[in-house]
Amino acid sequence: MSLASDSYYMFLRWMKKLVRNPILLFFSLFQPIIFLVLFTQLFSSFGLLLGGINYTIFATAGIVLQNAFSSAFQSGTAVVDDIKSGFLTKMLATPASRASILLGRLLSDAFRVFAQSLIILVLAYGLGVFPVTGFIGYVLILFTVAFFGLAWSGISLALGLRTKSAETVFGIAGTLTFPLLFMSTALMDKRLMPEWMKSVSAYNPISFAVNAIRDLIMIGYNWNSFLLSFGVISLIAILTLGATIYEFRKVVS
């Protein structure tokens, strides 16, 4: 009944915490920007191997996704903080809807990824990257990546709620980021991958989302790849958010 308004105030709380920690905000954007500016320069000759395309344009989709991935992966640590400080307990002592505690957090994760992606796209625009699908393309990209962020933060939340250790969440996130990123089409076309990696990358959920966004940037509307990525992200969301709700119930009861 009060789910919507409770979630809104929870969301607002996270937003305030985010903007009041500008260092956090800066560092979470630092890596994607480095990737966008340096990595694409360093690897610009890959463009030649891919038939003379501009590598920066190619890699933008991957970098946007990489940011969503690592940003959302930190969500669980914030919830661990709330458990350890007792703030979660304090919220549970009020009649606020239980679901709003998770929902507010997830909405803030999605919004953060949305805003960060927008910044990356604006920077990329400065480097000459703009989607052939124009404004609608931007909108579709931002929503896809925010949805991806929401689904992905579920993993982090479930881990945080289960282990109650920020170090564990950080450790697992840090360990998984690069293998998952490199074994996807985020930064490399599958034609240039060794065979075994090609098959791994074909099942890597990041690849699906990257391909959909890359098509919007480089080719145009490819509804097949768009809907496919939507389906894959939905599947991840169901799994990770299911796990989160399960772990949350255990913590709350």
Partner: protein, 335 residues
């Protein structure tokens, strides 16, 4: 209708720890009720159950006439809860902390704004209201935490050791706020390890030890149950803790008339006796004859500490908390 009614309440944690072993007590509407006990007695466990934060194992627990597990949502609207550790969001200002609590209690708009302003004044945070609470001093944080439990005008306020770890001045301040709140009709349920505070302010109290209530009643009732003055003896030669000397001393005391009870204490021996003052010369003479040296002897009227000592054979030592506090900053304290 009592504000809190508990019968045979039991809590056994998942690891088998029996934190609460079938306690029963009642808190009347508008009462200032103290829940007293040493570290690990089960105070926090009881308060968590009564505030819907922990499921009981068995027994009956009603708050404001509502069964806590069945009517948890209704109970949460009627109560305010302050946890043992200060809990505020340090990224938010004092005002924002209070407003968030209000929102989660379904308060909005002008009504909430006014209420928050009023509370900020009550706890003397008017000037710091729009500063990040991270920059508050310990006492200010505690006051903000207290204010945040009051936003929705709870009927019953639960406080878990609100004064532990505070300097004496802040402690006195918190107690005076609480006294004021109680005078407006709010029921207050407070746990503490500070006996003098309970003695002075609580109308009734229960003493908890190892998960069991060992005594309950008004402070004066409990003290008069002792029905005697206390005479504290400290033995001079050797460590007062060593057995044989203490036993000898107790034997000597046993031979004297007019003594109600002899209890071991960490400092030496405590003797309860009517008209204790008259007994002192007898004791001194008897010890002289037995060649046991006394390092000190003193007479006082009984305190709640004596009540506790009588029922448990131990004393409550609030300074123990400070040690556990200090280690809690590094290791995680169990909640």
């Amino acid at each position: 209708m009592p504000a809190v009614q508990v019968e045979n309440l039991v809590k056994t944690y998942g690891d088998g720890t029996q934190a609460v072993k079938g306690i029963s007590f009642k808190v009347d509407d508008g009462e200032f009720f103290g829940f007293l006990g040493p570290n690990g007695a089960g105070k926090s466990t009881t308060i968590k159950i009564l505030t819907t934060l922990l499921r009981k194992t068995s027994g009956l627990a009603n708050v404001a006439g509502l069964e806590i597990e069945h009517d948890a949502q209704k109970v949460r609207k009627l109560i305010g809860v302050q946890m043992q550790d200060t809990v505020i969001d340090e990224d938010l200002t004092g005002r924002e902390n209070l407003e968030l609590q209000g929102h989660l209690q379904q308060m909005h708009g002008e009504e909430l704004k006014e209420r928050v302003n009023e509370l900020l004044k009550v706890v003397d945070l008017g000037d710091a209201a729009d500063k990040r609470s991270a920059y508050y001093s310990g006492g200010m944080k505690k006051r903000l935490d207290l204010a945040s439990t009051l936003v929705h005008r709870p009927k019953i306020l639960f406080l878990d050791e609100p004064t532990t770890g505070l300097d004496p001045q802040s402690r006195a301040q918190v107690w005076s706020y609480l006294k004021g709140l109680n005078q407006t009709g709010m029921t207050i349920f407070i746990t503490t390890q500070y006996l003098e505070e309970v003695d002075r302010l609580c109308r009734r109290l229960a003493i908890l030890d190892h998960g069991e209530i060992v005594a309950q009643g008004s402070p004066s009732e409990l003290k008069s149950e002792i029905g005697a003055d206390r005479i504290t003896l400290a033995l001079a030669n050797g460590n007062p803790g060593t057995g044989s000397l203490k036993d000898m001393a107790k034997q000597v005391l046993g031979g004297l008339g007019g003594i109600k009870e002899i209890v071991d204490s960490d400092e030496g021996i405590v003797v309860y006796a009517k008209n204790g003052g008259f007994l002192v010369p007898d004791i001194v003479r008897a010890f002289d004859t037995a060649e046991i040296k006394l390092s000190s002897i003193g007479v006082s009227s009984p305190t709640l500490d004596d009540v506790f000592l009588k029922h448990t054979g131990r004393r409550i030592r609030p300074e123990e908390i400070d040690k556990s506090r200090a280690s809690g900053m590094f290791g995680r304290r169990r909640r």
